[in-house]
């Protein structure tokens, strides 16, 4: 299948949302409010407890939340749209099309998120401007981690969304995944705040690739072996979860055929 099919789907998705311009602005403002809340909280907590300057802390949260939003890990909305499509039976039409169904749905979803993604890139740019990466390697690893984070999020959403093949309502499970990722991704609190005993498992979890790891890579002064290990683990997580999501999706489609088509 030509890639143009998917890019056109993405463009249509974007136009659907862009039709309601006022709504787009409301959406942008909402996102900024969420971020303002985090900044307000940390301005009260103070920088003394994090060992960072105020500027560095803002840069951390800008990059962490920017990346998390960019890859759709903030709310995992791809999972929601998949659940809605399965519930409403729209999936039947997608399955009949000569396209890769999950990719088709994903590109359509990316189109819908166009405005949000532009805003998140702005967050990242401001964050990087406040605390630029100290080496080319750090910048390169940042991009690798953003890609692996996006793949992990895609796989997570696919698995959660596939839950709708078995359940009438899978949004509860989707929210569970979001709540866990909110704290354990480092978007709300840097993972270095966790007690030493829990730091290692939290930093090596797949959620760390959503926010903490990319933000740390941008701010780190030197790339040590543990950071390289985290990047490696992130890639391993991305591969494993992607394969797992394929298995879950296929099983779900078979189940759907059994009861529907």
């Amino acid at each position: 299948m030509k890639i143009a099919t998917y890019t056109k789907t993405m463009a249509v998705g974007f136009l659907q949302v862009a039709n309601y311009r006022t709504e787009v602005w409301f959406q942008v403002f909402s996102k900024m409010l969420v971020f303002a809340g985090i900044i307000l909280l940390w301005s009260v907590i103070g920088t003394g407890n994090s060992g960072q300057t105020y500027e560095q802390l803002i840069a951390y949260f800008l990059v962490a939340n920017g990346v998390r939003e960019f890859i759709d890990a903030l709310y995992g909305k791809f999972g929601s749209s998949m659940i809605d499509d399965i519930k409403a039976g729209k999936i039947s039409a997608y399955l009949l099309q000569p396209t890769h169904t999950v990719l088709f749905m994903y590109f359509k979803h990316i189109g819908n998120r166009g405005v949000t993604m532009v805003l998140s890139v702005l967050y990242i740019i401001v964050g990087v401007a406040l605390a630029p990466p100290t080496s080319v390697l750090a910048g390169l690893l940042f991009f690798i981690v953003v890609v692996s984070g996006a793949v992990i999020c895609f796989a997570q959403c696919t698995m959660v969304g596939s839950g709708a093949f078995w359940m009438t309502e899978a949004k509860g499970i989707k929210n569970v995944a979001n709540h866990i990722s909110k704290v354990f991704s480092g978007a709300l609190i840097p993972l270095t705040f966790f007690p030493i005993v829990y730091q290692m498992p939290v930093m090596l979890s797949p959620f760390a690739s959503y926010a903490y790891l990319p933000a740390t890579l941008i701010q780190t002064k030197s790339i040590d072996s543990f950071l390289l290990l985290q990047v490696g683990v992130s890639i391993v997580w991305a591969t494993i979860l992607l394969l797992l999501s394929r298995v879950v999706w296929r099983k779900g489609v078979k189940h759907y055929e059994a009861i529907g088509l």
Partner: protein
């Protein structure tokens, strides 16, 4: 208005609210699997939030003058306010948006019921409150009861705090509704509602004492985010003893109720039905 008419108006409003609540409750029972999903989501949210607080207080002793036990109490009031907003206001603004978008509102406007009252309370999901919100708060309550002795809650504070929650809920209900009514002009109100909820919950980020002065002004006037949680907790814990605020927020609640009515009439005059 004559006394008899007034009585009739009250009775019809009570009938609307009770019928809609019973219907909403039955609806929630019909989809019991949804309740389990929501319950699980809310419990996990509560647990992750408690982990967040625990991790935070592993490094800091106080946040804006509030210790761990006080922040747990603050969290409890945040939860109460969020669930009330979610069950009463958010659900109905969502329904209003859908009705405008699909043209379904026409049907409701021709019915002999007080339209604004109806659209304000047509869905009150009591089931969500009983089967999801309350059980999800249990982990917080368990921890909070263990720390109850560390809290100092004066009687005056309890009365003022409860008043703040009630008046604050009235104010934020009107505010969310006012913003939601932009759907009359834009045709779509999903993100408008989302933004208004983010705005009114902004005051739940930190305690009242932590807000800079200019943000308090905003929170007490054009964007009323500070009353229902931040000020209420400050009263409950005896940190605020300025009771003039109560008179002010009563006036603010009346003003917002009036604004909601005026805006509703204005919006209806500019409503071009999607179904006709």
């Amino acid at each position: 208005m004559k006394r008899l008419d007034f009585k009739k108006e009250i009775i019809i409003r009570w009938k609307i609210i009770s019928t809609c609540t019973i219907f909403g409750f039955r609806e929630s029972l019909a989809y019991s699997l949804n309740n389990w999903g929501n319950l699980m989501s809310m419990v996990i949210y509560m647990i992750t939030y408690l982990i967040f607080l625990d991790v935070l207080f592993g490094r800091v002793k106080m946040i804006a003058g509030y210790d761990y036990a006080e922040m747990l109490f603050f969290t409890l009031i945040i939860q109460i306010n969020y669930y009330l907003l979610f069950v009463i206001s958010q659900a109905n603004v969502e329904k209003l948006d859908e009705s405008i978008n699909t043209g379904e509102l026409d049907l409701w406007l021709v019915k002999p019921v007080p339209d604004l009252w109806f659209v304000s309370f047509r869905k009150i999901n009591l089931g969500e409150l009983l089967f999801s919100a309350f059980p999800a708060t249990i982990p917080l309550l368990v921890i909070l009861f263990g720390k109850w002795n560390e809290l100092q809650i004066p009687f005056n504070g309890v009365v003022s705090g409860i008043l703040c929650i009630i008046l604050g809920q009235v104010i934020i209900h009107c505010f969310v509704f006012l913003i939601g009514m932009t759907a009359f002009f834009t045709g779509e109100g999903k993100h408008a509602k989302g933004m208004s909820v983010e705005l009114v919950m902004f005051g739940d980020t930190i305690p009242f004492e932590g807000f800079p002065r200019f943000m308090k002004y905003i929170g007490f006037t054009i964007v009323p985010f500070i009353v229902q949680t931040a000020l209420a907790v400050s009263y409950f814990l005896g940190k605020s003893t300025n009771y003039y605020y109560l008179i002010y927020i009563f006036g603010l609640a009346v003003l917002f109720l009036w604004l909601k009515t005026v805006a509703w009439r204005f919006a209806l005059r500019h409503y071009s039905s999607a179904s006709s």
